[in-house]
């Protein structure tokens, strides 16, 4: 069965609106001198402003694009257009023997992957050149951070709404200098709290105490289990060599891509892909970072599709974040698998915080959730009529209400504690990413 995409899924791969529009403009066979497809690739020659037509090719197995046009955007409008033609009807593009330039690219990609897989990885964990120097810097940073936190508590947090950006940013920058970017990020979380909203004190204390717990964990690393040490080091900002991770055996499964969340800070784009393993029943979070206008994402996954992939989890007491070792798009009916009710979610979190007090947002798939209003707030009710709050600021509410019509449906949600954000819903057994 050929891998298919919906038009929307193809348009979602575009880097911006202009590319989306240009791609749609070019998605007419009249604008292509030739097109072709095989089981693993699509290719075409599109007339451009140059003397020779642009050669566009798409690796269907991993949804990778290549084009001879000079565009810096990725994928370029030619790649989007070719895939759009294919998504509208596979018959739009004739099945033929692939030309040499396509074979060459596909073989090169395969060779690169094999080479990566076979390459010996020398460094086992951290990429830091001098761990002792870094550890000392982090310790110094933490010492200052603790002093700053204590000063704040001594004087009272009641004055925090009056603080300007510098108050938070100085501490965050100091932690960056101390090579603890993870802790800097946690300080920025404190800065991002809405201090003029009711209940900010609760939110602030939760974030502050999570930061404090992480710091204390780092200061007492040697007393903690090995895997928890790894979690805390990662929370502080120590990286794990991903090439090393990819050299380890992973979990091969059909992974449903249930959601994609994109955030941007200082032109650094972070993509968060939420995956669910159909056979393993495990959830995974894959992060991808790239700088806007300077680099392109290494891979693109479409929510609502599935991949046959080997994933390697980062070392953790409760593994969630993972790297994609190798993957191919695969056809899947995207059936729902998951938990029955909120009590299952809470049991999972109780277990989670018993071994990992500061844990990230998780992905849950819950069989039957329904949006219900209460005092100008929307809640998610399970089949036992138990409630959890919708994450404040979620922009998915009205789309979710439109799709569900207020009826109970299986949903994929991300979140932790009392707040959850739906990222997709199974409507009539068909998964629809929000």
């Amino acid at each position: 069965m050929p891998i298919t995409f919906t038009e929307q899924q193809v348009l979602d791969t575009a880097p911006d609106d202009a590319s989306r529009k240009s791609g749609k403009d070019l998605a007419s066979l009249l604008k292509w001198e030739s097109t072709g497809r095989s089981a693993i690739a699509l290719w075409g020659a599109c007339k451009g402003s140059g003397s020779k037509p642009y050669q566009t090719q798409i690796d269907l197995q991993q949804l990778a694009f290549k084009c001879s046009c000079p565009s810096r955007k990725f994928p370029c409008k030619h790649g989007i257009a070719l895939l759009l033609l294919y998504s509208r009807s596979t018959d739009n593009i004739p099945e033929t023997a692939s030309p040499a330039w396509v074979n060459e690219w596909i073989e090169k990609r395969q060779a690169t992957q094999e080479k990566k897989a076979a390459a010996p990885v020398t460094t086992s964990t951290s990429s830091a050149k001098s761990p002792a120097v870094r550890a000392s810097r982090v310790n110094e940073g933490i010492e200052e951070l603790l002093r700053w936190m204590k000063d704040m508590l001594r004087n009272g947090i009641i004055h925090l709404p009056e603080k300007n950006q510098t108050y938070w940013e100085n501490t965050a920058r100091r932690l960056i200098d101390a090579q603890a970017p993870g802790l800097a990020g946690m300080v920025r979380n404190l800065q991002d709290i809405h201090y003029y909203q009711e209940g900010w004190q609760q939110q602030f204390m939760v974030h502050l105490l999570k930061l404090y717990t992480t710091v204390q964990g780092y200061l007492h690393l040697e007393l903690l289990p090995e895997l928890l040490q790894q979690d805390i080091r990662q929370q502080c900002g120590f990286t794990v060599n991903q090439e090393y991770l990819k050299s380890l055996p992973g979990i091969t499964d059909t992974w449903q891509v249930l959601g994609k969340q994109i955030t941007e800070q200082d032109k650094l784009i972070t993509e968060r892909y939420w995956l669910y393993g159909e056979s393993s029943g495990q959830t995974a979070l894959i992060l991808q970072f790239y700088a806007r206008h300077f680099s392109t994402p290494a891979f693109t996954l479409q929510p609502g599709t599935a991949i046959k992939a080997e994933l390697v989890y980062f070392p953790s007491v409760k593994p969630l974040r993972a790297v994609l070792k190798e993957y191919k798009l695969t056809a899947s009916p995207m059936h729902f698998h998951g938990m029955h009710q909120w009590s299952d979610v809470l049991a999972h979190q109780t277990d989670l915080c018993s071994s990992m007090p500061v844990y990230p947002e998780q992905l849950y798939t819950v069989q039957s959730l329904q949006l219900v209003p209460q005092q100008q707030q929307w809640l998610l009710m399970d089949q036992q009529r138990q409630l959890m709050a919708l994450k404040p600021g979620s922009n998915k509410l009205w789309k979710l209400l439109a799709i569900t019509g207020g009826h109970a449906m299986p949903m994929a949600v991300t979140g932790a504690g009392n707040y959850y954000e739906p990222i997709g819903v199974w409507s009539n057994e068909h998964y629809q990413a929000l």
Binding site: K21, L153, N155, L209, C353, K399, A402, G405, G406, H407
Partner: protein, 489 residues
């Protein structure tokens, strides 16, 4: 819960001012908290932070749900109509991507006419769009299905989309609303029940100031009828000049009013026919004072090449129904038009035809005239109008485009070709954005024609036109796709 709140209160005021929290004796974390409190190496802030860290984890390990038994469940009623096809959805998406509200509206209207409804996932984006674009509201709500109605009731931002919402505003705001709102109320009331609207206005008339009176009086244009005459006659004695002027303006539109009857007598005395030939005699000036009070002017001193008599007669002709002239002169309308036009009365005659909405007479005038009258657009059937517009498309192209753009029916192929030719000759005056809101008027048949036939090679090959043509045809192709995929069930 109590200890956690206590901890926050201490943090709020500061450990320098507040006593440390009491150790919970019987709670599970009590033992751990006692160890922290009794460790002499911990300062007050250490104690607060460590206590907080333990309480935080204790609380998150025991997170519970809230019971929802008491909450009412709101669900949308199931749909009775069919969803439109994915191809139709794609054409809607295309219209929105192109940024054309006109095509989006066209899509919604066709969808409603065909009896289809929108897929639910598209509703929020369209409802947001319709809150900012009034023209989309009615067509959207006709094809949004039960799901859309349900969503509009739930979201306060979308309440204004609900049918009847504006009527609610009307009844509430006649007494307290702003002037534009009150005008809207009166106009709507007037359209539904002219007598009741007049009574409503008469009841508050004395309390209104002059500017409000003038603005509200203007609303009586809607469904103006002979029953309004007695009251309007009274209003001509109003203190405000502006109100008087408005009242006369309305009376001049009513053939049964005394003033129009007086005009008719004066015109009948000045224009007669003998053996089918129209004869104009000079008016006896000055006219009765009431005629001047009603808005007929004397010739300004600066006017050249015209006598005062002719000037005033032209004004009088413009204020009597054309059908009166035809009856009085015992001549066919076309003959009246030809002869009066030759006597310099064409503009006055057209004004009268527009004033009294005599569509046939407008048509007769347009057939014969060599003058471009922008004000007649959309007052006559589109075939008559297009034939008239064709004669001026080259010389008065920009005005023709401007006026044709205010219509509601699709342009004919011939006039569209003429307009495109004009655009090609003026490539820097028009761009794609200009046509975004006119796209629904462009005929899809033009996609099948070859412009070379009516353009000539020179114009056709002009780069600026080629570029604009591509964009225009993109809009027309979108309209064609919309029509193709939304044919009635």
């Amino acid at each position: 819960m109590e200890h956690w709140q206590q901890l926050i209160n201490i943090a709020l005021l500061g450990t320098g001012k507040q006593a440390l929290p009491a150790i919970p004796a019987d709670d599970e974390p009590g033992t751990a908290l006692a160890v922290i409190r009794h460790d002499a190496t911990n300062d007050r802030e250490d104690v607060l932070l460590k206590t907080g860290a333990i309480l935080l984890n204790y609380r998150q390990a025991g997170t519970t749900t809230l019971p929802g038994d008491h909450l009412p469940i709101h669900t949308a009623a199931s749909e009775t109509r069919t969803y439109c096809s994915p191809e139709a959805v794609a054409s809607l998406q295309e219209a929105m991507d192109l940024g054309s509200n006109a095509l989006t509206k066209h899509w919604l209207e066709l969808c409603a006419d065909a009896g289809y409804i929108l897929p639910p996932a598209l509703l929020p984006i369209l409802m947001d769009k319709a809150t900012g674009s009034k023209q989309l509201r009615t067509p959207l709500m006709k094809c949004c299905g039960n799901r859309g109605m349900w969503l509009a009731q739930l979201n306060p931002d979308w309440h204004l989309l609900l049918p009847g919402h504006e009527i609610n505003i009307n009844t509430d705001t006649w007494e307290t609303g702003t002037l534009p709102q009150r005008c809207e109320v009166l106009t709507q009331k007037r359209a539904a029940d002219p007598e009741a609207a007049l009574t409503m206005l008469m009841e508050t008339w004395k309390q209104e100031n002059a500017a409000t009176r003038a603005a509200l009086l203007e609303c009586l244009q809607t469904e103006l009828n002979p029953n309004d005459i007695p009251w309007l006659q009274q209003v001509t004695a109003d203190k405000s000049g502006k109100v008087k002027e408005k009242a006369w303006e309305l009376l001049r539109k009513l053939p049964a009013s005394e003033i129009v009857q007086s005009y008719q007598q004066l015109v009948a005395a000045a224009i007669n026919s003998i053996d089918g030939a129209i004869l104009l005699t000079e008016l006896q000036l000055p006219l009765p004072a009431i005629i001047y009070q009603s808005g007929i002017d004397k010739l300004p001193p600066s006017a050249l090449h015209m006598s005062d008599e002719t000037y005033q007669l032209q004004q009088l002709v413009a204020q009597v129904p054309c059908s009166f002239l035809s009856t009085h002169l015992e001549l066919a309308p076309t003959s009246c038009v030809t002869q009066l036009a030759a006597a310099g009365m064409e503009a006055a005659l057209l004004k009268a035809a527009i004033n009294f909405r005599e569509t046939d007479w407008i048509g007769y005038i347009l057939e014969q005239t060599n003058t471009f009258y922008p004000e007649v657009f959309h007052l006559v059937p589109s075939d008559v109008l297009e034939a008239y517009a064709m004669r001026f498309a080259e010389k008065e192209g920009s005005a023709v485009i401007l006026r044709m753009g205010t219509g509601t029916t699709t342009w004919g192929l011939a006039i569209t070709q003429q307009i495109f030719k004009f655009i090609a000759m003026h490539p820097y005056s028009y761009n794609r954005n200009y046509f975004l809101e006119l796209a629904h008027l462009l005929p899809v048949d033009i996609l099948q024609t070859d412009e070379k036939n009516y353009f000539g090679d020179i114009l056709y090959n002009q780069q600026a036109w080629k570029s604009l043509r591509e964009k225009l045809f993109e809009l027309i192709a979108c309209k064609a796709a919309i029509q193709q995929h939304l044919s009635p069930q």
